[in-house]
């Protein structure tokens, strides 16, 4: 039927309302003038609504004027009108395009260089090396060196690294460094020439001696007093002071030391036993106040609570609110009644552990003897004697010109 070459959306459409007396005959005039109108609605006796293409709109207006038909534009649509509007809003579009360009432009630079994993190598040194390699804040992304190559170069330039990883995340460049583990300078090596005497830390019976350096002053099975010189750092007999050479002392001397411990053990023991059931609850908090659900009660009769505070952060800045995660572990107190013998045994164990914790490693309990025990008020009091072999040496510096 009626063929229109271009879709009306592209040509532009105008919806008009015509007012006049003989509209039916006016419609015939329109068709005779070869004006294409469509979507003609009857509004009332003297009014019609119709749509006309923009290209023929002025012809239609002319025809209306000739026939005393008045009209009103109801709606305009289509590309030509849109273009008209766009011209008025030129700067808006310019802005939008500029925005896209600047967004693209700004994301094609490196804005952050983060260095991770360095402990000993100062970040500034790494930054300098990176700068030489062409990685710095403000570098154009296209001019960045190849990642694999960069990793190799960095590894080569920094001797103390065993691995270097480089990755780019948007405008952020992340350099991950794994430092070589350098063995700690040997303690013995550094202190080998330390001019010291070794003296006794405690009153003890010498049990074993291994002298690496220095002049031993005591023998095995000697009783020594606290502060007594065990190994002198000065060679010679000490009479001819001037010729004596200060060599320092190094030895491991084990002495037998006696300890007495007194312990009390309640015969009724209370122990926590966890059932293995646990619940979690999460509560927000603001400043010091925890916003708890008032209807919430921990699900167990007896429980232990573990709190973990999750702080909200913005960068390095801590926000005054966050979430507290609470864990409830169901548990039970279990009472057990001990016999006196069991109590003594337990007390002994406890005393041993306490003593060894006090003395530090390398100590050894060689003998133990219960001296005395008594039961009173549901508790057992035990007095124990321990024979402990431990390192009794202590360093004492030698002052020149003594």
């Amino acid at each position: 039927m009626l063929d229109i070459q271009l879709p009306p959306v592209l040509l532009g459409r105008v919806v008009v309302e015509c007012r006049g007396m003989k509209l039916a005959s006016f419609l015939n005039l329109i068709t005779k003038a070869n004006i294409r109108v469509y979507d003609i609605y009857w509004v009332d006796e003297h009014r019609l609504k119709m749509t006309v293409l923009l290209s023929q709109f002025y012809e239609l207006v002319k025809l209306m004027k000739q026939n005393q038909v008045r009209m009103r534009i109801l709606h305009k649509s289509g590309l030509p009108f849109y273009m008209e509007k766009a011209k008025k809003r030129k700067w808006f579009y310019v802005g939008a395009i500029l925005f896209l360009f600047s967004l693209y432009g700004l994301t094609s630079f490196i804005w952050n260089v983060d260095i991770e994993g360095n402990k000993k190598i100062p970040a500034s040194q790494i930054q300098n090396i990176l700068k030489q390699e062409g990685v710095f804040v403000g570098q154009w992304k296209r001019r960045l060196p190849d990642t694999v190559l960069l990793q190799e170069n960095l590894l080569r330039k920094m001797d103390d690294t065993s691995w270097v990883g480089v990755r780019t995340e948007g405008t952020r460049m992340i350099i991950t460094i794994v430092e070589k583990k350098v063995p700690e300078p040997n303690d013995d090596q550094a202190k080998i020439r330390e001019p010291v005497h070794l003296i006794a830390k405690k009153n003890a019976l010498i049990y074993e001696m291994k002298v690496d350096r220095g002049n031993p002053k005591v023998k095995v099975n000697d009783m020594v007093k606290k502060g007594q010189i065990l190994v002198s750092g000065i060679y010679g007999d000490g009479e001819q002071n001037n010729t004596n050479q200060i060599a320092g002392a190094k030895a491991s001397i084990l002495g037998e030391v006696w300890y007495e411990s007194e312990i009390e053990i309640p015969l009724v023991q209370k122990k926590k036993v966890y059932s293995g059931y646990r619940e979690k609850g999460r509560f927000p908090y603001v400043f010091r106040f925890q916003l708890k659900n008032p209807f919430f009660s921990p699900p167990y009769k007896q429980y232990e609570q573990i709190q973990q505070i999750d702080r909200m952060r913005v960068g390095n800045w801590e926000l005054p609110f966050g979430i507290i995660e609470e864990q409830y572990l169901e548990m039970q107190w279990v009472r057990s009644q001990l016999s006196e013998e069991e109590g003594i045994k337990l007390g002994l164990e406890q005393a041993k552990l306490e003593l060894l914790a006090d003395l530090g490693k390398g100590s050894q309990i060689v003998a133990e003897k219960i001296l005395h025990h008594r039961q009173e008020n549901g508790k057992v009091y035990v007095k124990v004697h321990f024979d402990v072999v431990e390192n009794i040496t202590e360093k004492q510096p030698i002052f020149q010109g003594e």
């Binding site: 509209l23 039916a24 419609l27 015939n28 068709t31 070869n34 109108v37 469509y38 979507d39």
Partner: protein, 88 residues
Amino acid sequence: MGVLRKWATEWLDLPPDVTSDAPRIEMIGAHRLQIENHRGIQQFKDTELKLGVHGGALSIIGEQLKIRAIDSESIYIEGKIDQLKYLT
């Protein structure tokens, strides 16, 4: 002219709508109507549309009638069409 056309229709076995002045009416359901060879609109309301045709008038009666498109030869009507009447 009329004689010649009638002769051509008969002898060349052409369909009458191609050659004659009679309107060709095509209706799709009760909602769309396409008429070729009309002689102009005589009356237009949303309930009745009177169309001049060869040898009289054609009245289309319905509701919410709307002229979808029109030119000097054909007209395309949409709406709820109830009746189609020939007025001679």
